[in-house]
């Protein structure tokens, strides 16, 4: 039976990986992902987990090892963050089109320069188009559950794609929360053994990763892109079955007081809990505000998102990434594109907040809602705005 314990989120996530009974962990430690990898290394050393731990010389090597082990048919896990993810970048684009179902936890952290070990989403947003399925966890329980879900979905033969579970560095990764840890029997019930569609086997040789000459490259990339889109059905089914077994229901997007709202905050990750507190405070003052939280980032759940926002007047979209020279943050851009020329589309205002570990407080959310109210009446000069930035 499942046991509810007070546990650090990183350790709980590592426990999910142990319960998934992975075969290979290839990883390089980097703050704030370190505890995940440390715990797995320890579990393997003590014999609690029967797997190979590859202590690689870099993140580039980590992802290369993961591609090899997944291609050989091993259930494979890694984890990284920030500068480590950047070093991994070249290889990150490879397992998607090769259909290798590696699972990775990313403890989201800012990027240099200046050097910052603290939380925002700039690392993963720079890797937005690597062609992995990507989810964002809000709390520790979700980090645990989404990790098991990731193995289940990634390895489903209809999907066979790599998958990332994003958790906010420190704010989520290092927090101790009461988390229900499922038993081995329960996990085994949910997660079948990994049976790859193809694997490298000297007795039945195949080539993975050949050159894509101009006559086939477009078709190969299209096939991958369509596979990502088609995976949404299996992702949702995986959550449905999780709910049937363990009672916790997850959806591509979640709503909070959205039904009668005039303004909706749009968030991803752990700041959503602060946003809900802010909404409670504002509702007490009679303001009609609500929240839509994006859990599934890739493939982007367009129809689910449109349904969730309904006929609301305006969206206050929060981005935790400032792309220099762009028209808006990545989530803001995504949503403006989604609603372009849609009749009765909401007005979209984009706020950049919480960079490099700066807290996004209840007050900041209230500020965004106040600004949104003003912008509905009078359009702002800029397409996005950095919240809480000092000028002098």
């Amino acid at each position: 039976m499942a046991k509810r314990v007070g546990i650090e989120v990183s350790i709980a996530l590592a426990e999910a990986v142990r319960l998934a009974n992975v075969d290979v962990v290839a990883a390089f430690p980097i703050t704030p992902q370190t505890h995940i990898i440390e715990h797995l290394s320890e579990s393997i050393a003590t014999g609690d987990l029967d797997a190979n731990f590859i202590p690689v010389e870099s993140e580039h090597a980590a992802m290369s090892c993961c591609c090899g082990s997944s291609a050989a048919g091993a259930r494979t896990f890694t984890s990284s963050s920030s500068q480590g993810l950047m070093l991994m970048s070249e290889v990150l684009f490879i397992p998607g089109p090769l259909r290798l179902p590696i699972v990775m936890a990313v403890a989201n952290r800012a990027l240099s320069a200046p050097i910052s070990i603290w939380n925002d989403h700039q690392d993963i947003m720079s890797q937005r188009d690597i062609g992995w399925i990507q989810t964002f966890a809000e709390n520790g329980q979700e980090a645990f559950d989404l990790t098991l879900h990731a193995f289940r979905v990634a390895e489903d033969r209809r999907v066979s794609l790599p998958m990332i579970v994003n958790i906010d560095g420190f704010i989520l990764s290092h927090v101790i929360e009461p988390i229900e840890i499922l038993s081995q029997e329960e996990v085994d019930q949910y997660l079948p053994p990994f049976k790859p569609v193809y694997r490298l086997d000297p007795r039945r040789p195949i080539t993975m990763g050949p050159v894509g000459i101009p006559e086939v490259y477009t078709e190969a990339r299209m096939a991958h892109s369509e596979a990502i889109k088609a995976s949404k059905r299996v992702i949702i089914q995986g959550w449905k079955e999780f709910a049937e077994l363990f009672g916790r229901q997850y959806n591509p997007v979640e709503t909070y007081h959205s039904e009668d709202a005039d303004i909706l905050l749009i968030t991803m990750g752990s700041i959503s809990e602060t946003a809900m507190t802010a909404i409670d405070t504002m509702r007490d003052k009679g303001q009609k505000v609500g929240l839509v939280r994006i859990r599934l980032w890739r493939p982007f759940p367009g129809p689910e998102f449109r349904k969730a926002v309904g006929k609301v007047k305006a969206l206050a979209v929060v981005d935790r990434c400032l792309p220099p020279g762009a028209t808006a943050g990545p989530v803001g851009t995504e949503l403006r594109s989604l609603f372009y020329k849609v009749p009765s589309a909401p007005k979209i205002f984009n706020f950049i907040a919480g960079l490099g570990g700066r807290d996004v407080t209840v007050k900041r959310f209230e500020e965004m809602v106040d600004k949104t109210k003003a912008y509905i009446k009078k359009r702002p000069k800029e397409l996005y705005e950095v919240i809480g930035v000092r000028e002098k």
Binding site: M208, I213, A220, A223
Partner: protein
Amino acid sequence: MANTDAIVGWKTITFGCHVLEPGSSAKFRTGDWRSQRPVLDKEKCIKCGMCWIFCPDMAYSRTEDGYFEANMEYCKGCGICAHECPKDAITMAPEE
């Protein structure tokens, strides 16, 4: 490139763009990339096989009379054989 064997649609391309048949590269004719062809002067050739050893495409094979001949379906015309021939028995002639 004139090769049309590889033309497939995105719905029919192999899973992961894998090549499922071992040794299938033999089916990929690279000879039409060629702008020059090697021409052998049998008077000079000593049948040493240096062309056969150095050919990066393994296009050369030994014929019954002991000479080495490049298969024009695979020879890309790189000229390495002509460069390596110790007797200058191979010259590169423009492909018509």
